[in-house]
């Protein structure tokens, strides 16, 4: 297997590390907007703090990706399939940036400083702006649904490559 048959170790670590983080964030988000249990506040604060971790990670990941050569997609794929594959990956990147940014902005406009593990706080508006809060709150929710959809598509495509096309695409990320 030549070097470019497989994603580099750093890319694989970023991929699986962020997969775990993103799935946890989505689960936490869906739980914390509904739950009235005593752990809700703790989960809420952890979710916000890890949003900061997420944007730092996705930034580092993007820089890392741009510095590495990616394994080529299988030759058997039609051009349009390659285009869809590439576009879906860039859409995932856009969502990975848009989620923490929209999450922070809804907090910002609601006048709620974000405490990051007790180390420091992200600033919030001194004067609440309910219109911008509403905009980013709804956006954060819709982007989350889009992200869940894209992740499902991503997993489905990986399994399709592995079990139906029996090519090297999934293995290249393992």
């Amino acid at each position: 297997m030549s070097n470019t048959d497989r994603f580099s170790l750093s890319m694989r670590l970023f991929h699986w590390g962020m997969a775990a983080l993103v799935l946890s964030m989505v689960a936490a988000g869906l739980l914390m907007v509904t739950s009235l249990q005593t752990w809700q506040l703790t989960l809420l604060n952890i979710h916000k703090a890890f949003g900061v971790v997420a944007i730092l990670l996705v930034t580092a990941r993007l820089i890392n990706r741009l510095q590495h050569k990616l394994p080529a997609l299988p030759d058997e794929l039609a051009d349009w399939q390659k285009t869809v594959a590439k576009a879906s990956h860039w859409l995932l990147y856009i969502l990975l940036f848009a989620m923490p940014v929209s999450g922070y902005l809804m907090q910002y406009f609601a006048g709620r400083p974000v405490d990051v593990f007790g180390w420091f706080r992200l600033p919030a508006a001194l004067q609440v702006d309910i219109y911008n809060y509403a905009l980013f709150r709804e956006l954060h929710g819709w982007l989350a649904l889009a992200l869940i959809g894209m992740i499902a598509l991503h997993i489905g495509a990986a399994l399709h490559h592995h079990f139906i096309r029996k090519d090297n695409v999934l293995k290249s990320m393992l």
Partner: protein, 326 residues
């Protein structure tokens, strides 16, 4: 996708089988509060209120207990709101059983504090799921309420308060309680459980006012004539007090500290003022104040957020455009 989302939304409601009342979600709770009549763009609870402004003048007495900058000697401005319980923004002021004071201190971009206080000093129940049943009983009528309280002996202190409470003729003459306890945290990291109250400095007899907006008119005229002052009184728990149970008051013998005076200097109709945009979630806390594990307190963030999300979205869609304060 919608089915998946709903399943995930409802999962927490069914994922536990502990004893006690059926668990309700923030959405169910706010659905119950808003009832069948829609008032788009308004709060789902305590919908009718008036914006107030002023400052807190700290005397420094609490600075050894909390590192919150607010308690250092000096003045901090606030945006606040005086309101009555209920989902109707046009309800008659004098019919409401509960009156409230909410405050927002935006001390800096990283330190903000929201307070939501009510006239009862204690809750009738100790957890949000039982509170849901209490609201259901109130909506069902007096017979259901009687039955509910009979089945919930923990409501005894609340009922004693309700039995002797006399509504005054002014927002300025009520005592507003934090109800839930919080921890003060000082510079050494030492924690002290506290409750607090805004205690009035005037007494105003219950009048024979009848106007639907009687309390709003009264407070606007009173503040226009002169500032209205409250003492901000903290009660310190001792080791035998349960800071996580909002149905039990602490003994009168507990140490009390007056942290300073809250001075109200202005009023504005709520839709013209700064208070309408604010979610007075009492879990927005500055460094130096921490939430206890009180289940009612812990439930407030999610419920307030759901109410806020609904009305903010409605407002974005133009719900309040062209409407006056009513």
């Amino acid at each position: 996708m919608k089915a998946l989302y709903l399943t995930l939304l409802l999962a927490p409601a069914f994922s536990f089988s502990a004893e006690g009342p059926p668990r309700v979600s923030a959405q169910q709770f706010v659905d119950l509060q808003q009832g069948n009549t829609d008032f788009p763009g308004f709060r789902r609870a305590h919908a009718k209120g008036i914006c107030v402004s002023g400052e807190f003048r700290a005397n420094g007495q609490l600075a050894d207990y909390s590192k919150a900058s607010l308690f250092k000697t000096g003045a901090t401005p606030f945006t606040g709101r005086l309101s009555i319980a209920g989902n109707n923004p046009t309800a008659p002021d004098l019919k409401a059983p509960v009156r409230s004071m909410a405050l927002s201190f935006a001390s800096s971009r990283t330190e903000q504090w929201r307070l939501a206080m009510n006239t009862p000093p204690v809750m009738a129940v100790a957890d949000p799921h039982t509170f849901y049943q209490q609201i259901q009983a109130i909506q069902a009528g007096p017979a259901a309420v009687k039955q509910f309280f009979a089945a919930h002996p923990e409501s005894s202190e609340f009922l004693t308060w309700a039995g002797q409470y006399q509504a005054t003729g002014s927002f300025a003459a009520e005592t507003y309680y934090s109800i839930n306890a919080f921890y003060l945290v000082n510079a050494d990291g030492k924690q002290q459980a506290v409750r607090w109250a805004m205690q009035p400095t005037v007494s105003v007899a219950a009048t024979d006012l009848t106007a639907p907006d009687a309390l709003q008119q009264e407070i606007a005229a009173r503040i226009a004539a002169d500032q209205v002052v409250f003492d901000w009184v903290f009660t310190l728990a001792d080791a035998t007090d349960d800071e996580n149970n909002p149905t039990k008051a602490w003994p009168d013998s507990r140490q009390q500290i007056i942290a300073g005076q809250l001075v109200l200097t202005g009023t504005t109709p709520q839709l013209e003022g700064d208070c309408h945009a604010i979610n007075f979630d009492p879990l927005v806390l500055p460094d130096g104040i921490k939430a206890t594990a009180d289940p009612i307190l812990r439930a407030r963030s999610a419920a307030y957020a759901e109410s806020y999300r609904r009305r903010a979205k409605e407002q974005l869609q133009g719900a309040l455009e062209g409407s006056n304060n009513e």
